[in-house]
């Protein structure tokens, strides 16, 4: 039960990232910080994960992905669920800020980033 409680109290983060190494590293690092992390390699997988695991407290979203990319995911997610789940865009694009704004994301972080930056953002936006 402790585990369940812990699960219940822990904040969940959905990481949508096509680069397996990045997905692995972010997941590992966030789990090390005590978050419950769900990974998805593209938009489809992300939506499936939400179906399966319920709404996360925050979504970390890569933009350029094969299959369903960040934009499509964001619009479909927002259409299907609420707008309250904060989305933080992780992108390598030069105009990351604009892109984040375009899809209605709450924040953005340019690749490459360090963990502390990411954690700062997550703490700022993660919903309880």
């Amino acid at each position: 039960m402790i585990a369940e409680d812990a699960l219940a109290n822990t904040k969940s983060i959905l990481v949508v990232e096509d680069d397996k190494n990045i997905l692995f590293a972010v997941s590992t690092l966030l789990e090390g910080e005590g978050y419950r992390v769900f990974g998805a390699e593209n938009g489809f997988a992300a939506l499936e994960s939400i179906e399966k695991n319920g709404l996360p407290n925050l979504i970390l979203l890569d933009m350029i992905m094969p299959g369903m990319d960040g934009w499509r995911f964001a619009s479909e997610f927002m259409a299907k669920y609420d707008h309250k789940t904060p989305i933080i865009v992780m992108t390598a694009a030069a105009d990351a800020k604009q892109r984040a704004k375009n899809i209605g994301a709450n924040g953005w972080i340019g690749k490459p980033f360090v963990l502390d930056e990411l954690l700062g953002l997550i703490k700022k936006h993660a919903r309880t």
């Binding site: 096509d18 680069d19 397996k20 190494n21 990045i22 692995f24 590293a25 972010v26 590992t28 690092l29 090390g32 593209n42 350029i64 992905m65 094969p66 299959g67 990319d69 934009w71 992108t91 390598a92 694009a93 030069a94 340019g110 690749k111 490459p112 980033f113 360090v114 963990l115």
Partner: protein
């Protein structure tokens, strides 16, 4: 006028004018002839008292007029007419010449009248009814002008010019004559020359106009008359008429002056002589009064008759009567008794007495009046005398006449000298004394031009044109007529009051006008000089104008020639196509380069429509455009393509006489420009695309670089944390570092390759290699890397050796396989084939992926582009295929792709068996 000049008359106004004038000439001649036939003087002279047109003149007018009319109106003239016209004119000239000569010799043949009698009341010029020498001269001028026109031809045009001279002279002479008639002062009247009649003058005027009209029509047809020439001729005519008229008026003023002077002289002299005559008569009666009723004288006569032998009485009586004898012009005194016997005769006794005196003396006895016996001829000595008869009245015996004293007067002594005396020197002036006797006028005094005329010469009273007759029939003052010899004269006539005498002082008109003659010559000289001078001046002006005219014409022609030459050169050399078309859209002028454009010589191009030159819809459209330009009158621009070349054409209408009559235009070959434009556009698009691609590349590059660096950075953080926490470093985590590092490495390698290829720095190191082995190795490598994938390679049995850089070709194949792996779902097979052909080897990588949309195919092998664009599902810079192409092309081969969306793609590359480079 052998049809040449006159042929020009047909249908124009000159012909009409000549015809009308010819009719007038004919008509005047004919009417004059009628006048002679029917004795209607008016028809011959138009004015009784003026000279008539001679029958010979009338006949010539009819002939001349008829011929003129025929020439002016007949369209076809046979030889007959030519012969007759020449004959008539030759005859006319001959007759005129003969008559002039005869006239000069003062011979006037009666045959000229053709048997017509000269009418009594026609003005009796000495030779009325004969042709005037002036008329004859005019006929000669007419014939001369006719002949000149007759022989004129296009090669002998100067004859036409020459004909103007006699025609104009004829017109001038007749004009002056007619003018003189009109002003009531006809020329040549009273001179020795027969004056031309008024109808004659008019007919010559018409003839002159007709002849000038012939010449005029020629000038018109020869287009010798431009506007300025017509003006000059007009000015000349006006000047000539003016000068002639002015000259005539001056002449008339002189003539009037001398005539008035003569009239005054005649009047003064006549008045004086009349007074003298009256005075003379009065004196004679005073003489008579001395003894008439003188009682002393009567007593003496009575005593003498009673005692005839009384010497004393006789002496006393003689002394009484002798006082008369010495006196003036009494040359004889007789004393008659009642029986008519001469009782006393002085100065010599016994002189006989004329019977006339005796008879009149008897009358005096009865009348008891002093009587002047008018001029009488003494039958004994045949001398002319007058006599004064004085009755001797005895008052004592009931006033009985007892005798008559007869004083015989010799007019030669006093009376005739009075009459003959003329105060100024004059050849023809004289004073006549006449009286009426029965139906005659009897001349009482001697005449200047008829010997022994006194009391012998008589003129019947019905010769009213004679000035002397005019005096007798009661006219007084200045009269004009002819004298007793039928010579024109002017006279002052008046009766001598208290007598039966009429006094006439006359002078021949020729003498009156004689002083005018020097003036006349002077005037004629001035007139001729003025006309010739003005003619010469106008001719000079005309010549200068025509010289200027021809000079300008030559200049214009030269300018035209030069402009045509420039135009020709322009058309020959113009690099722009230039064309001119008529309103039928047929080419008039084309620049020479059209020959090259249309591949035909100029002769075949001119006069054709475009549709005839190259029948096509294009040509039809061009014609439609042309017609539209001509119709609308607006400039039109179009671009056309012919035989693979592109042209830009601008065409516009050329207005001629107010309407768009011609079409002109330029055509420029714009093929090169178009190509350059297109190339520029392509280049621009390419540049734009390249810029876009580069931006996109950077975007992708950033992503591609950041992803591995992000992964490396995060993985290193995990490792760091593990180290910090003293945990063992996870091997899995560590292994994960390989992949991003490798990706970065490959990116760098690809970029280097692209850069090398771009700058031509890539150098192949060809080696004879077995391509089959190379492909097999590569496929095996991929099988190892991706064991889940199904790779298949059907390797040919034999060994195929080609000259290649095996490292590079391996790179190409591995790139293609890498792509296939990336873009093909895991469950689909990837097939590699190798097809050896005659000269090439083809290697294909066949996948069953999504395929590539057609629009992306052409960009596939270009640098900085990637299938699927930015949103593509697979990472990578898209440099791979570009590098592949570079490598294959360096081998002298080619690379390509066949793809169908949903079915998969086949990437292939072909390599020559030997590298040719």
């Amino acid at each position: 006028m052998t049809g040449y000049v006159s042929s020009l008359l047909r249908g124009n106004r000159s012909g009409l004018l000549s015809g009308i004038c010819a009719i007038i000439v004919c008509g005047l001649g004919f009417s004059a002839l009628l006048g002679w036939v029917f004795k209607l003087p008016f028809l011959t002279s138009f004015d009784s008292g003026k000279i008539p047109m001679a029958p010979s003149t009338a006949l010539l007018f009819i002939l001349y007029g008829t011929i003129l009319f025929l020439y002016a109106t007949l369209l076809h003239r046979g030889r007959g007419i030519y012969l007759i016209s020449i004959l008539v004119h030759l005859t006319g000239v001959l007759v005129a010449l003969v008559l002039v000569v005869l006239n000069y010799r003062d011979i006037h043949p009666a045959i000229e009248h053709f048997g017509f009698s000269i009418l009594k009341n026609m003005p009796a010029h000495a030779h009325s009814g004969h042709m005037s020498p002036v008329t004859a001269g005019c006929f000669i001028l007419s014939s001369l002008s006719f002949f000149l026109l007759f022989f004129a031809s296009p090669t002998k045009r100067c004859l036409v010019y020459a004909s103007v001279v006699p025609s104009a002279l004829l017109l001038m002479i007749s004009f002056v004559l007619t003018l003189a008639y009109w002003l009531g002062m006809p020329l040549l009247y009273g001179s020795a020359i027969i004056p031309p009649a008024l109808p004659t003058s008019l007919a010559f005027m018409a003839m002159g106009i007709a002849l000038l009209a012939f010449a005029w029509s020629y000038f018109l047809s020869a287009e010798l008359f431009d506007r300025s020439t017509v003006i000059l001729v007009g000015v000349f005519i006006v000047l000539t008429v003016g000068v002639l008229t002015a000259g005539f008026f001056i002449y008339r003023a002189y003539a009037q002056h001398y005539r008035t002077e003569a009239e005054h002289q005649l009047s003064a002299i006549t008045e004086l002589k009349e007074w003298e005559l009256q005075q003379w008569r009065r004196e004679r009666f005073w003489d008579a009064e001395i003894i008439y009723g003188n009682p002393v004288f009567v007593e003496l006569v009575r005593r003498y008759f009673k005692r005839p032998l009384d010497q004393k009485v006789e002496q006393q009586l003689e002394s009484w009567l002798m006082q008369f004898i010495g006196h003036v012009d009494y040359d004889k005194v007789n004393l008659f008794d009642l029986r008519g016997l001469i009782r006393l005769s002085l100065p010599v006794r016994g002189l006989p007495v004329s019977a006339i005196v005796l008879r009149r003396a008897a009358e005096v006895v009865q009348s008891k009046q002093i009587t002047l016996v008018d001029f009488y001829r003494d039958e004994r000595d045949q001398q002319i005398y007058l006599a004064l008869l004085i009755p001797v009245i005895d008052t004592l015996i009931q006033n009985r006449v007892i005798g008559v004293v007869a004083l015989q007067i010799d007019p030669r002594k006093y009376l005739y000298p009075i009459l003959l005396h003329w105060p100024t020197p004059s050849k023809t002036a004289e004073t006549l004394l006449v009286r009426q006797e029965g139906n005659d006028v009897l001349f009482l005094s001697e005449l200047k031009f008829i010997k022994n005329a006194a009391l012998n010469f008589r003129i019947p009273l019905n010769m009213t044109e004679v000035t002397t007759v005019m005096a007798v029939v009661g006219r007084t003052g200045v009269v004009e007529g002819v004298d007793y010899r039928n010579v024109s004269d002017i006279a002052e006539v008046r009766p001598v009051h208290g007598s039966s005498w009429f006094l006439e002082s006359r002078m021949e008109l020729s003498e009156v006008y004689a002083p005018v003659k020097p003036h006349l010559w002077m005037i004629v000289g001035f007139v001729v000089a003025l006309i010739v001078g003005s003619g010469a001046f106008l001719a000079f002006v005309w010549r200068k104008q025509s010289v200027e005219h021809y000079r300008k014409q030559a200049q214009t022609a030269e300018a035209l020639r030069e402009s045509e030459e420039i135009f020709k050169k322009f058309m020959e050399l113009s690099p722009i196509y230039v064309f001119f078309k008529n309103d039928q859209i047929r080419s008039l002028r084309l620049s020479k380069n059209f020959e090259t454009m249309l591949g035909k010589p100029m002769e075949e191009l001119l006069g054709k429509t475009m549709d005839e030159l190259f029948p096509s819809d294009f040509a039809k459209k061009m014609i439609a455009d042309d017609l539209m330009v001509l119709k609308s009158g607006k400039t039109f621009e179009t671009e056309e393509e012919l035989n693979g070349r592109q042209y830009r054409t601008i065409k516009f209408p050329i207005y001629y006489e107010g309407a768009p009559k011609y079409l002109a235009g330029y055509t420029i070959d714009i093929t090169a420009r178009k190509r350059a434009e297109a190339e520029l556009l392509t280049a621009k698009k390419a540049a734009e695309k390249s810029a876009q691609s580069k931006a996109m590349f950077l975007d992708i590059a950033a992503h591609e670089l950041r992803n591995p660096t992000t992964a490396i950075s995060l993985l290193l953080q995990i490792i760091q944390k593990q180290v910090e926490k003293g945990q063992p470093i996870s091997a899995a985590t560590f292994a994960r570092l390989h992949e991003p590092v490798e990706r970065l490495t490959r990116l760098v390698v690809d970029l280097l390759d692209v850069s090398r290829l771009d700058r031509g720095l890539m150098v192949l190191q060809p080696v004879r290699s077995d391509i089959v082995l190379l492909v097999s190795k590569c496929v095996e490598e991929f099988k190892l890397q991706a064991p889940k994938r199904r790779f298949s390679f059907l390797s040919p049995e034999q060994l195929i050796e080609v000259d290649i850089d095996p490292v590079r070709i391996y790179q190409v194949l591995s790139n293609l396989l890498d792509n296939a792996v990336k873009y093909t779902p895991e469950d689909r097979p990837i097939e590699v084939t190798l097809s050896p052909m005659l000269n090439i080897i083809r290697i294909s990588v066949i996948d069953q992926g999504d395929g590539i949309p057609k629009e992306q195919l052409h960009n596939l092998f270009k640098a900085f582009s990637r299938g699927g664009g930015v949103t593509g599902r697979v990472g990578g810079l898209g440099l791979g295929l570009s590098v592949c192409r570079g490598i294959v092309e360096l081998h002298g081969g080619r690379i390509g792709v066949l793809s169908e969306v949903g079915r998969g793609s086949t990437f292939y590359f072909e390599l020559p068996r030997r590298i040719t480079s």
